[in-house]
Every structure is written in structure tokens, then in C-alpha cells.
């Protein structure tokens, strides 16, 4: 980069118009050049554009855009989080929704414009951080700049008298500062040097003795580590998005599933993942328990969920048992299985007009109200003859009569379970081959078998009118919804996040600072007068005063004044 000054050009003793950090060089806290008018004429266009994009101002604007761009995704429903809500939005806003969709507002964080913002930001970041890394490496190899002429002008300064001649006094100072791990530069040879003859004054020009010391390169290193780690996180997120997957499965008590694409209710593979990447485990749900607070102000609030499962990691392997809970996922073959939801599955048995049992299974109902677990579902018996039978139902775990005689639930646990069914006969439309949801029923070709819903308790049978058959509410089971996720980028992302945190802490805590010493011979004797100047190259430098005072005192060979009261 053309405008990067070599560190040696930093002149802290420059006139006050210059910031103490020095002439326009990238300092730890102002690492980017101001944008705007190119400093050189005839700059090629691409260089000019590059300069613009890596300027701090552009980075600032992109940060704002990133914050702004993230907002719609928190207000408009997102397909990634809640596809049902998105469908609902399309129904309730038929004019607006297609336009929002066109701009990717239902998938903000996967949309091209959002990607454009963060990719530009990262390009800007790389364009800034990479040259700074080289610069830091360069700086750590080159000695600090010459001591400025007038150290008294620096923010921190002190003067002391030494009995040694100037050259030796500076050498002594160098060994003190070197002992504090300062990087040194001096015009005095710091080995054992013969003292210069008394009275022989240094020439006015360059024959005074000086020492420059610098420390705190870690600050910039931490800053760079932070930014590079952000880049690492982005790459890890991309890796997870490419090779990871997410799989959802609803499982009723007593049932098992083998982890294979067709067994899953939903499967979201990354761009480079396929169904054959699924881990070959299988899981059986033995039982599920939900416990609730039964009394007091918080009655009905869930207290604990527990899903007891048996799993085998590989086909034919040893079976293991685990209690799957919220916050306690199951780890199988590098895949994590989570307990995400739960519900009731009433068991029904349906007999058709000919007296044959045509349906016998636990049927998952979906909670409509998670605080009472009032749930909806359908029972479809397409094998019933001569007419197919279907039922729309409401399941309540603790039945009470609601307002207007409706069935309601008083408590989320099954204390008094009941179902209310509306019966239909006719054609369910399942034999045409068109796929349909198992949770929905198409009643267009069906007629109600009775005008009123029919209330049933476990063990009860409803004999349908006109000899259409019967349905028995056998009992209920519970189901859980599980999510299995695999994300190879996750571990590295965490490592980079930890590095980013470490980097920013270091860059906030460590100060970049310089200490300079100049010595002139004292008149009339062998001793010398030394001026010490200090400069902390950042405004987060709270505490440098103390450090400077300590160093100055140590150089002068006196005890530092400590915290105890001196003014009393």
C-alpha cells in the first residue's frame, strides 16, 4: 500500500498538529487510511476502488448496513425458522408477500444481498488486516524510531541526574528497559564501553546520546487475531452449511426409527451433503415423561421433560439407553440428537361396515396450545369399505367444559384425557396418488356422519350411524419430536470464537508504548542530566502514567513513590 509509512518515519516529537501517534501511519487504533480523494493522481481505477473498499469509512458503512440488513429477518417470518408462519403470511398478505419474497425477505440471512454485505465487509477486512499483518511483522523486526529531540514535549516526561557520564548513563538505562522486555534502539553501544574523557562534550549535532524503547506489539497482534478469527468463523459457518445437515423426526412411544432419508419427516442437507451422509444409528423411544408444577402461581408450567431412549450407534452394534432431555442432547457418531417437542398420540381402532378392523394405530396429534396441550389431529381409515372413513379430532389431556359447552383442557398432563371427534365418510382422495399430509384431511368428497362432534373417553366406542362402522378410543401414547444435526464447522467455529475473544481482550488490555531517554553531560562534573519521555500510542492507556512513573523512578535509581499518601 503506497501510503503506508515505514515505522521509522514516525516522529512523536513532531509539532502538536500531528497526533501523538505520528504522521498518518496506521496506528493500532486508527489502522485505516481516510478514504476520499486519492492521494496520487493517475491512480489506476482498480487501485482507487480497492482503496475505497478497504477504507475504514467503507467498513463503517458496511457495518451499519449489516446491522440494518439483519433487522427484517427478526420481524418477517423466516423459512429457516418457521416455514408454517411464512405460509400463513402469504395467506394473510397476498399482495405484499410475493414482493417480499422477490427481495429474499423470507430468507434474509441466505439472500444474495445480505451475503453481498457481509462478503464485502470481509473483503474490506482482509484488505485491511493482511497488509497490517505484514506491517506488524516488519515492525517487530525493525528497531523503534530515534528518540525525538525534545522529550519534554511528550505526554509523559521526567528528568533525573546521574553520576555517570552520558554514554554510560544511557547504557545503564538501556539495561533497565531491556530488563522490562522493551525493544531497544540506541546510538550507544550497550556493551562495556569505556567512559568518554571528562570535559569532552558531544558535538552539538548528532553526538548526544539517546535511547528508544518500545513495547506492546501484542496489542496490534491481538487486534489482527480478532479480525482474522472472524474470517475463520465465517469459513466455518460456510463449511457447516455445505457439509452439515439437520433432520427432524416425530417418534411415538414404543416406536423406533433407523436414520435414513425416507424415515425422516424433514431433512435439510447442506449443499454438499446427501442422504447417504446420515449416520447409520437407530433410536427407540421407550417412554416420555413431562412433569409440571401442580400448584401455586406457576401451576401448569413445565418442570421437566424426559425421553427415555434406546439407541444403537451402528447397525448391529450394542444397544445403549439414555435419558434425552432439553439441554442434554444425545451424541451418536458425531451427530447430536435433541429433544425439541412433545405431544399426545391417541390410539384408535376403526372397524368398517363389514366388521373388519381396518385401522389400529397411535395417531400423533399436534398441540394447538402448548400451555394446556389441547391438540388437533385427523384419523384416516382409507381401507374401510364400502365407504372410506375419516375423523377430525381434538385431544385434551385434562378435559373440562369450556365456555359454550366446548371441550377444553385445564392442565397439560393427562389427568382426564378425552377426544372429541367429527366423523366423515366418503372418499379421502388418497388413492389418486397425489401426496397429502398425514395431519390433514381433504373432506371435499366426504360427508359428516353426524351433525355434532362426539366426545369419548378411553375405552369408549362410538358406533357410527347408518351401520358405517365404529371407532374405539383405546387410550393414548405420547410422542416426541427429535432433531438430529451434524455440523463439521461447529468445533472450529468455537475455536475461532475463542481466539477472537482472546484477541480483542489482548488488544484492549495491552498498550503500545514507547519510552525515550536522552542524556547530556552535566556542567562541571562527570555526571549527566537525563530526560525521559513516554508515549502510549493509544487512548485506552489508563495506567500508563503509573508505569511511566515506575520506570522513570527505576531509571533514576530511586524508589517509586507508591500509592500511600504523599500530599498529607
Amino acid at each position: 500500500m503506497t501510503d503506508v509509512h515505514a515505522p521509522a518515519s514516525v516522529n512523536p516529537g513532531a509539532p502538536p498538529q500531528t497526533p501523538p501517534e505520528g504522521g498518518g501511519s496506521a496506528t493500532p487504533d486508527s489502522p485505516r487510511r481516510p478514504s476520499g480523494v486519492p492521494q496520487q493522481k493517475n491512480l489506476p481505477l482498480w487501485r482507487w476502488a480497492w482503496r475505497q473498499i478497504t477504507s475504514m469509512r467503507t467498513a463503517l458503512v458496511l457495518l451499519f448496513l449489516l446491522a440494518l440488513g439483519a433487522i427484517p429477518g427478526s420481524i418477517i417470518p423466516q423459512t429457516g425458522n418457521d416455514p408454517a408462519q411464512v405460509q400463513q403470511y402469504f395467506i394473510s398478505h397476498p399482495a405484499l408477500a410475493p414482493w417480499l419474497s422477490r427481495f429474499g425477505l423470507f430468507d434474509v440471512y441466505g439472500s444474495p444481498w445480505f451475503a453481498a454485505i457481509y462478503l464485502l465487509l470481509f473483503i474490506s477486512l482482509v484488505g485491511c488486516v493482511v497488509p497490517r499483518t505484514f506491517r506488524l511483522v516488519g515492525q517487530s523486526r525493525t528497531p523503534p524510531p530515534k528518540a525525538p529531540r525534545f522529550l519534554g514535549r511528550l505526554p509523559h516526561s521526567a528528568t533525573y541526574v546521574s553520576p555517570l557520564p552520558p554514554q554510560e548513563a544511557v547504557a545503564a538505562a538501556a539495561s533497565v528497559l531491556g530488563g522490562h522486555h522493551f525493544r531497544l534502539r540506541t546510538n550507544v553501544s550497550t556493551g562495556t564501553t569505556p567512559s568518554s574523557p571528562p570535559g569532552k562534550k558531544a558535538d552539538a549535532g548528532d553526538k548526544t546520546f539517546w535511547l528508544s524503547a518500545e513495547k506492546g506489539y501484542l496489542r496490534e497482534a491481538g487486534n489482527l487475531l480478532f479480525h482474522l478469527s472472524l474470517l475463520g468463523i465465517l469459513i466455518c459457518v460456510a463449511v457447516g452449511g455445505l457439509f452439515g445437515y439437520k433432520a427432524d423426526k416425530l417418534l411415538v412411544e414404543g416406536q423406533s426409527y433407523a436414520d435414513t432419508p425416507s424415515a425422516l419427516d424433514d431433512f435439510y442437507p447442506g449443499r454438499l451433503a446427501t442422504g447417504s451422509d446420515l449416520a447409520p444409528f437407530d433410536i427407540t423411544l421407550n417412554n416420555f415423561t413431562a412433569t409440571y408444577i401442580t400448584s401455586g402461581q406457576n401451576a401448569g408450567q413445565p418442570a421437566a421433560y424426559n425421553a427415555n431412549v434406546t439407541y444403537t450407534a451402528t447397525s448391529g452394534g450394542a444397544a445403549k439407553t439414555d435419558d434425552l432431555q432439553v439441554n442434554h442432547p444425545l451424541n451418536v457418531d458425531g451427530v447430536k440428537v435433541y429433544l425439541i417437542g412433545h405431544g399426545f398420540a391417541p390410539v384408535f381402532s376403526v372397524t368398517d361396515a363389514q366388521g373388519k378392523v381396518v385401522y389400529d394405530q397411535a395417531t400423533p396429534f399436534i398441540p394447538a396450545d402448548t400451555s394446556t396441550m389441547l391438540s388437533d389431529g385427523v384419523v384416516k381409515a382409507p381401507n374401510a369399505a364400502p365407504e372410506q372413513l375419516g375423523f377430525m379430532g381434538v385431544f385434551v389431556p385434562t378435559a373440562v367444559e369450556g365456555s359454550g359447552g366446548t371441550l377444553n383442557s385445564a392442565f397439560p398432563a393427562a389427568e382426564n384425557p378425552a377426544v372429541s371427534l367429527i366423523g366423515y365418510s366418503g372418499n379421502l382422495g388418497m388413492d389418486s396418488g397425489l401426496p397429502q399430509s398425514v395431519y390433514q384431511m381433504d373432506t371435499t368428497a366426504m360427508t359428516k356422519v353426524a351433525a355434532q362432534p362426539h366426545l369419548m373417553f378411553p375405552g369408549q366406542t362410538w358406533k357410527l350411524p347408518n351401520g358405517l362402522g365404529s371407532i374405539t378410543f383405546v387410550g393414548y401414547k405420547q410422542w416426541v419430536s427429535l432433531t438430529a444435526t451434524y455440523d463439521p464447522g461447529q468445533g472450529p467455529a468455537l475455536a475461532f470464537a475463542a481466539l477472537a475473544l482472546l484477541g480483542i481482550l489482548v488488544s484492549f488490555v495491552v498498550r503500545r508504548r514507547r519510552v525515550f531517554v536522552r542524556a547530556v553531560a552535566a556542567d562541571g562534573n562527570r555526571g549527566s542530566i537525563l530526560t525521559v519521555g513516554g508515549l502510549a500510542r493509544t487512548d485506552a492507556s489508563g495506567g500508563f502514567e503509573e508505569e511511566f512513573a515506575r520506570l522513570a523512578a527505576e531509571l533514576a535509581g530511586t524508589e517509586p513513590t507508591n500509592q500511600s499518601e504523599t500530599g498529607a
Binding site: P16, S30, L60, I71, R153, N327, A549, A556
Partner: protein, 354 residues
């Protein structure tokens, strides 16, 4: 794992006591403004004191601007080397400083410390009453974050001798805590299974801490803007110099520096909180980042504070503009707590206000 009702009651009593004591502290701070010993506020950024002591030039605004983030120093500096035997001296001790500040400040500081202690006891006993980290719902979260703000402010006040900020900061704490007690009070109780994790202690603690710290930075930012606008108006001849209130609070440059130090303390804590939240999300929901609305707004807040830090290093963005950014950052944080967590359904819907 029931609720220990005795402890829960103790907690409630201490919380009310804290609110009352804070209110008295605010009164005392205000009394200092009205009747206290006239003095220019000295936010004792030690360097300035030293420069002033050494050369008795360059104090005040000039020295302030010298440390305010690379703004060129416009005042004269110590040019003559100080006498050989003078090394930087320490400033006066804390007790002496409080004594010097007068009766009103003495009372106000004592009340602040007492209030914070009572507040801390209330939060801790609530935690023991419910056998978990006491920030499982919105009410608990707000009481905890104001406690952090209180503790942090008392530290800042004592370290930088910033008595004159007390009326503003403590006032904001009283208002927030008062609203929490009246509008969103929630009785002690256990939390839902999703919150039954040690990550509640880690993640929400970090978020509470950083929110409390950013809260202080926000109040400082408002004071900065007020002071800066006033100074500009005076400079432009549009306002009379000598506004009693503004003359007594620290200079804009000092406030600016204090704000910066506060934010660079809060930012890594917030970053850690977000990371801890991501780890917890991975434990509970199956993915470390799923753009849940609360996550999204935490991200927005993080980006805005990052923008503040960058703005301070960008020409033309220091000073007022940077403060606008951090105030917007805090606004996004407040929006997250007050609006997103309460009204927008997501996986973080634990506010307990439904």
C-alpha cells in the same frame, strides 16, 4: 426443588430497600448540585492532574483533548523540562477526595454504597430462594442488570471521583428498577426446562453484566452530547456560558474517554455472552446460531458497538457521531429486551410476562 418463601420475602424486602436508598442517594446527589460546594468536576484522569501539577498549563480542556483519541492537542504543552527532582506524584487519596467534596457528596456516596449492597443482597437471596441463577425471567434480568450498573458505577465514581455523574446514573437506575418493580414484577419460581442449564448462569450473567456496563456508557453518552452541544452553542454565541449544571459535570473530552473505557470493558463481555449463548443454543436447540429474533438483535447490538469502536478510529467520526452510534447500540439492546423478547415469538420467549 420448591421455592424458599422466606428467602424470597427477604429478597423482596431488600429490593424495595435498595430502591428507597437509591432514591435518597439521588436526592443527595441533586442536593450537592443545588447547595453543594461550587467546584469544577474533576474526573481525575490522573495524567491531567499531573500535567497540571507539573506545569500549571495545559490543564482542563486542552489536556482532555490530548487524550481523547488522537484529536490533535490544541493547547500548549509542558515545554520546559520539569525540575530534576520532580517525579510524577500520586493524587490525593480517596477518603480525602470524598471529604473535600462536601457533606452532600459524603452522604450520597454512603447511600449509593448502601443501596448497591442492599440490591446485591436482594439479587443473591433471590438466587438462593429459587435455587438457580436469579435471572430466569425479565423482572429478574432487569433487577440483576441494574445491580451490575450500580456496582460498576460506584466503582467508576470512586475511581474517577465522578460524584457529579451520580444524579444522572443513579437516577436512571432508580427509574429502571422502579419500573421493574411496578410493571414487570414476577414472583419467585422455578424456570421451564429449556432454562434449566448451567449455561443460564454463564450466558445470562455475561449478558446482564455487559448490559449493565453499556447502560452506564449510554448515560455517559447522553451527558457527553448534552455537554458538547452546550459547549458548541456557547462557542457560537448562542448560549450563555456558565450553566451551573453543565459546568459541574466533567468536560466533554473526559466523558468521551470514560465512555470509551466503559465500552471496551463491556464489549468483550458482550462478545463472550453471545458466544456462550451460541454454545447453549447448540446444547438446547440443535444449532449454535439460528437467527432467532433475540440472537439477531444481539448480533445487531454487537455490530453497532463494533462500529462505535471503528468510528473512534475514523477521521470525521470521532466525538459526537461515535456517541450517536453507541447510543443507537444501546437502543438496539433495549429494544431487544423490551420489545423483541416480550412481543416477538421466538425461541427466547421466556420473559414470563405472557
Amino acid at each position: 426443588m420448591g421455592v424458599n418463601e422466606t428467602l424470597a420475602n427477604v429478597s423482596s424486602d431488600f429490593m424495595i430497600a435498595a430502591l428507597l436508598i437509591y432514591s435518597l442517594a439521588v436526592l443527595a446527589f441533586a442536593g450537592d448540585f443545588a447547595f453543594g460546594r461550587p467546584r469544577r468536576a474533576a474526573v481525575a484522569v490522573k495524567q491531567q492532574t499531573r500535567i497540571a501539577e507539573l506545569a500549571s498549563v495545559g490543564a482542563g480542556p486542552a489536556a482532555g483533548s490530548a487524550v481523547s483519541g488522537g484529536v490533535p492537542a490544541d493547547g500548549p504543552r509542558t515545554t520546559a523540562p520539569p525540575p530534576a527532582n520532580v517525579l510524577p506524584s500520586r493524587q490525593a487519596s480517596l477518603s480525602r477526595a470524598i471529604n473535600d467534596a462536601g457533606n452532600w457528596v459524603r452522604v450520597a456516596v454512603a447511600l449509593s454504597v448502601l443501596g448497591v449492597t442492599s440490591h446485591l443482597i436482594a439479587v443473591v437471596t433471590r438466587g438462593f430462594a429459587v435455587h438457580r441463577a436469579p435471572w430466569g425471567n425479565m423482572y429478574e434480568f432487569v433487577t440483576a442488570l441494574t445491580c451490575v450498573a450500580g456496582i460498576f458505577f460506584v466503582y467508576v465514581m470512586l475511581r474517577y471521583r465522578a460524584w457529579s455523574l451520580g444524579v444522572f446514573v443513579m437516577g436512571a437506575i432508580v427509574i429502571t428498577l422502579g419500573l421493574a418493580e411496578t410493571v414487570i414484577y414476577t414472583a419467585a419460581g422455578p424456570v421451564v426446562p429449556a432454562l434449566q442449564s448451567y449455561w443460564l448462569s454463564i450466558h445470562v450473567t455475561a449478558m446482564t453484566l455487559s448490559t449493565g456496563i453499556f447502560f452506564i456508557a449510554f448515560v455517559l453518552g447522553i451527558l457527553y452530547l448534552t455537554t458538547d452541544v452546550y459547549r458548541a452553542r456557547v462557542a457560537a454565541g448562542k448560549a450563555e456560558p456558565g450553566n451551573g449544571l453543565l459546568e459541574r459535570i466533567p468536560s466533554a473530552a473526559q466523558l468521551d474517554k470514560l465512555t470509551y473505557r466503559t465500552i471496551i470493558f463491556g464489549f468483550p463481555v458482550w462478545t463472550f455472552g453471545v458466544i456462550a449463548g451460541a454454545i447453549w443454543a447448540d446444547e438446547a436447540w440443535g444449532h449454535y446460531w439460528s437467527w432467532d429474533p433475540v440472537e439477531t438483535w444481539a448480533f445487531i447490538t454487537w455490530v453497532l458497538y463494533a462500529a462505535y469502536l471503528h468510528a473512534r478510529a475514523t477521521g470525521g467520526w470521532r466525538g459526537r457521531r461515535a456517541h450517536y452510534i453507541q447510543i443507537i447500540g444501546f437502543a438496539s439492546l433495549a429494544f431487544n429486551i423490551l420489545v423483541v423478547q416480550v412481543f416477538i415469538t421466538g425461541m427466547h420467549s421466556y420473559a414470563g410476562l405472557g
